[in-house]
């Protein structure tokens, strides 16, 4: 067996292992939400901004916190969860995110803690960012360093790795992939798998032929 063939075999085996390992992991799902759906723009600013919101519940096992903050080129973002001055969780996300929400990974807390403050800091953005939530004047409304367009609660979701692995979710994913497309049906997944295997075969054959 030539050196090239051994390299190809090793690399493909590593790829298969990496895909297999990925499939044994679980997708991130919503563990809990504060129910503040995106109904209103609370803040719109092009400056660095920080804020805190009380009356939140940090569920045990939370691995990431998703804030309803949108931007085209999101600034560096950090999140701190505090209870009575004690920091329970802290995480950050570098600049460059895009979308209507920003997800910040945090270390998993062992226990559920009620009545926590969720605080965030956004560096000065390149483009204006928007903070979404629901209008509210009750307790636990968002307090920010920037002028607010409306009083309300920021939308916050607590995420974790779900109980099911990607592998066990394959039938569900196959069903979903067959929806909303031309020629609907789960056959798409098998066609994709066949195309992927054909690609691997083509690549391997050519690599061995030309580089072997």
């Amino acid at each position: 067996m030539s050196r090239a063939a051994i390299t190809l075999a090793v690399m493909l085996a590593l790829l298969a292992i990496a895909v297999g390992l990925t499939l044994t992991r679980s997708p991130i799902t919503v563990l809990a939400s504060n129910g503040a759906v995106n109904q209103a723009v609370l803040v719109e600013t092009a400056s660095a901004v920080s804020g805190c919101q009380g009356a939140e519940t940090l569920p045990a096992g939370t691995s990431a916190i998703r804030l309803a903050i949108g931007g085209e080129i999101g600034p560096a973002t950090s999140v701190t969860v505090k209870s009575g001055g004690r920091i329970l969780a802290r995480g950050s996300r570098p600049a460059g995110w895009t979308g209507g929400t920003v997800t910040v990974p945090v270390p998993r807390p062992a226990n559920t803690v009620k009545g926590v403050d969720v605080c965030f800091t956004l560096a000065k953005p390149l483009e204006p960012i928007t903070i979404f939530g629901i209008p509210s004047s009750g307790a636990g409304t968002l307090r920010t360093s920037a002028a607010q367009l409306a009083r309300g609660r920021l939308g916050i979701e607590y995420l974790h790795s779900g109980p099911s692995s990607w592998l066990s979710l394959l039938p569900t994913i196959a069903w979903r992939m067959g929806i909303g497309h031309a020629w609907p049906g789960s056959w798409i997944v098998f066609a994709l798998l066949a195309a992927m295997l054909a690609s691997a075969a083509l690549l391997s054959t050519l690599a061995l032929r030309e580089l072997g």
């Binding site: 690399m11 790829l15 080129i73 895009t98 069903w175 690599a207 072997g212």
Partner: protein, 536 residues
């Protein structure tokens, strides 16, 4: 052209006994036969263009075909994975094709009141809710599917009143080609038409990889095994697959740019003649008819034709300058014809594109613009006003954008992936730098050719940066999207090939295979990430 020409007549699999001399003799004869056939093909006069095309395609090495097939398969996979209208600006590009196919006329407005059929589909697949909202996945309920099918089968109007959104000011070639699959599936639903149109774009990805392979072969002829590394590297590029798996004129722009790089490299290696001048002119013309961004590549291309003519003049005299005029004339002809038609019909000189150019009126100082464009790509230099404070555009926009940012820029890898990607990128850069250092003598001899490729790349980057500056500071980096630089993919193919060569003949193929499988893995995980985002 293949190295293993006798593979198909291996004695081990042949039922007939070789007449004499055993397997070596049989192999030798087969090789001679193949060589004679190839020589005959080379001698055959290419009197008409179909014959010329057939002859060109017959002479393509098998590796080029495989790269093309791989890129097509890759983009076809992306076309099924990405939900409808989740490729940037796909609703506008689809509307353009629909306007051409249904009304037989070019779009007249950049409005987004698309046809009732398209608007109903956009609503039913929840395009607005999914875009830029990673927490929203593609529709997944049987009831949603039934509602979608019901709306699609109710035959809503396909007339969009000439509105094609952002795509309206683009030239028509790509959209005209897309009317073919649109027409083929006109009896089906909008989603049927969209998928067939996506598959045509996927074919264009195949052409891009094919031309990238051929470019590497012409530009770096020394080590044929390295051509495969370059070609496969481009074929596996996930961003190429993603963009060409959707309806977007970028797909054709990548293919045309690939063809242009190939033709120029061929000219620099084999010399300019009348036929190549015509082909170069035609490719430039096709580029102008494809997308306005081609304007960014064109100056370098014209410079290339001029340098080739100058070089050819030493052998062919003044005739070479006639070829230059021929190439330039053919190349610029679509723009001139379009302007003349508009003048005669008392329209604006550049039609609807005039609106775009008027909107792009200059603001700010010249040095401010230069400073902005520099920082758009590279770290700020001392003395420059910070336009991207605390933000490294090279890394955040361009590198991370190539590593993985799909959908409407809302589908990304976890942060550690971008950090990890720095390692193979650094290895590739180092190996490539070593190859360039070792071949520095040849670099000096090919300075003109390198200048042309650099001019093509730089002028495209200038165009994208200058366009973004027009929207600055309202938006910081309007066109800060890696897809706009994919017309330079053949150069990336050359970088991959050089990197493999830089490791040396002994370990180069091993490095090349590792690199190619790594790039394939990049593609597979990009597809999985996209599946997780929309269907997970």
């Amino acid at each position: 052209m293949s190295r293993h020409t006798s593979a198909g007549v291996s004695p081990a699999t042949s039922s007939k006994r070789p007449p004499s001399g055993g397997s070596r003799e049989l192999t030798r004869r087969a090789r001679q036969q193949q060589a004679r056939k190839r020589a005959a093909q080379m001698r055959r006069p290419a009197s008409s263009s179909p014959n010329l095309l057939v002859s060109i395609f017959r002479r393509l090495p098998r590796a080029a075909w495989v790269c093309m097939a791989l890129a097509f398969l890759n983009a076809a996979c992306w076309s099924f994975i990405t939900p409808p209208f989740q490729v940037p600006d796909e609703p506008s590009h689809f509307a353009y094709v629909q306007q051409l196919a249904e009304a037989g006329a070019l779009p007249s407005s950049g409005g987004e009141q698309f046809s009732p059929e398209e608007l109903a589909t956009l609503a039913d697949v929840e395009q607005g809710a999914i875009t830029l909202q990673p927490q929203h996945q593609s529709i997944s309920q049987a009831a949603q599917q039934r509602h979608l099918e019901s709306d699609l089968s109710s035959s809503p109007s396909r007339q969009n009143g000439g509105q094609a959104g952002k795509a309206a000011s683009e030239p028509p070639l790509y959209y005209a080609l897309e009317t073919i699959p649109y027409g083929m599936a006109s009896g089906g639903t909008l989603l049927d038409r969209l998928e067939l149109m996506r598959l045509l774009s996927a074919l264009m990805a195949g052409l891009t990889a094919l031309f990238a392979f051929l470019f590497v072969r012409e530009a770096l002829p020394g080590e044929r095994w390295a051509w495969t590394v370059g070609g496969l590297g481009v074929a596996c590029a996930p961003l190429l697959g993603f963009m060409s798996g959707g309806v977007n004129s970028d797909a054709l722009l990548y293919a045309v740019s690939g063809a242009l790089f190939y033709c120029l490299a061929r000219g620099f290696r084999r010399g300019l003649d009348k036929r190549l001048a015509c082909v170069l002119g035609a490719v430039i013309a096709i580029g102008f008819l494809t997308k306005l961004n081609f304007i960014g590549v064109a100056p370098g291309a014209f410079l290339g034709v001029a340098l080739l003519s100058r070089r050819a003049a030493s052998q062919h005299g003044r005739q070479a300058y006639r070829w230059l005029a021929l190439a330039a004339g053919i190349g610029i002809s679509p723009v001139l014809v379009y302007a003349c038609v508009n003048l005669l019909s008392h329209d604006a000189l550049l039609g609807i594109a005039t609106n775009a150019s008027q909107a792009a009126s200059h603001h700010g100082s010249f040095f401010g613009e230069i400073s902005y464009i520099w920082q758009f790509y590279l770290p700020r230099l001392p003395g420059m006003t910070p336009d991207f404070p605390h933000y490294l555009t090279t890394r955040e926009i361009w590198f991370n954008g190539y590593v993985g940012l799909y959908g409407w820029f809302d589908t990304a890898f976890p942060g550690w992936v971008y950090d990890f990607a720095l390692l193979p990128a650094a290895l590739i850069a180092l190996a490539c730098a070593r190859a360039l250092f070792l071949g520095r003598t040849a670099l000096g001899e090919r300075a003109g050719e390198l200048l042309v490729y650099a001019a093509m790349g730089l002028s495209l980057m200038l165009l994208v940066g200058a366009d973004s500056y027009l929207k600055f500071p309202g938006t910081a980096a309007e066109y800060g999207q890696t897809r706009y630089l994919l017309p330079l993919l053949p150069l990336l193919g050359a970088v991959y090939a050089l990197a493999a060569r830089g490791v040396g003949r002994r370990w180069g193929p091993v490095f090349g295979i590792s690199l190619v499988v790594l790039l394939f893995a990049h593609d597979i995980f990009s597809q999985l990430q996209t599946i997780a985002r929309y269907y997970g």
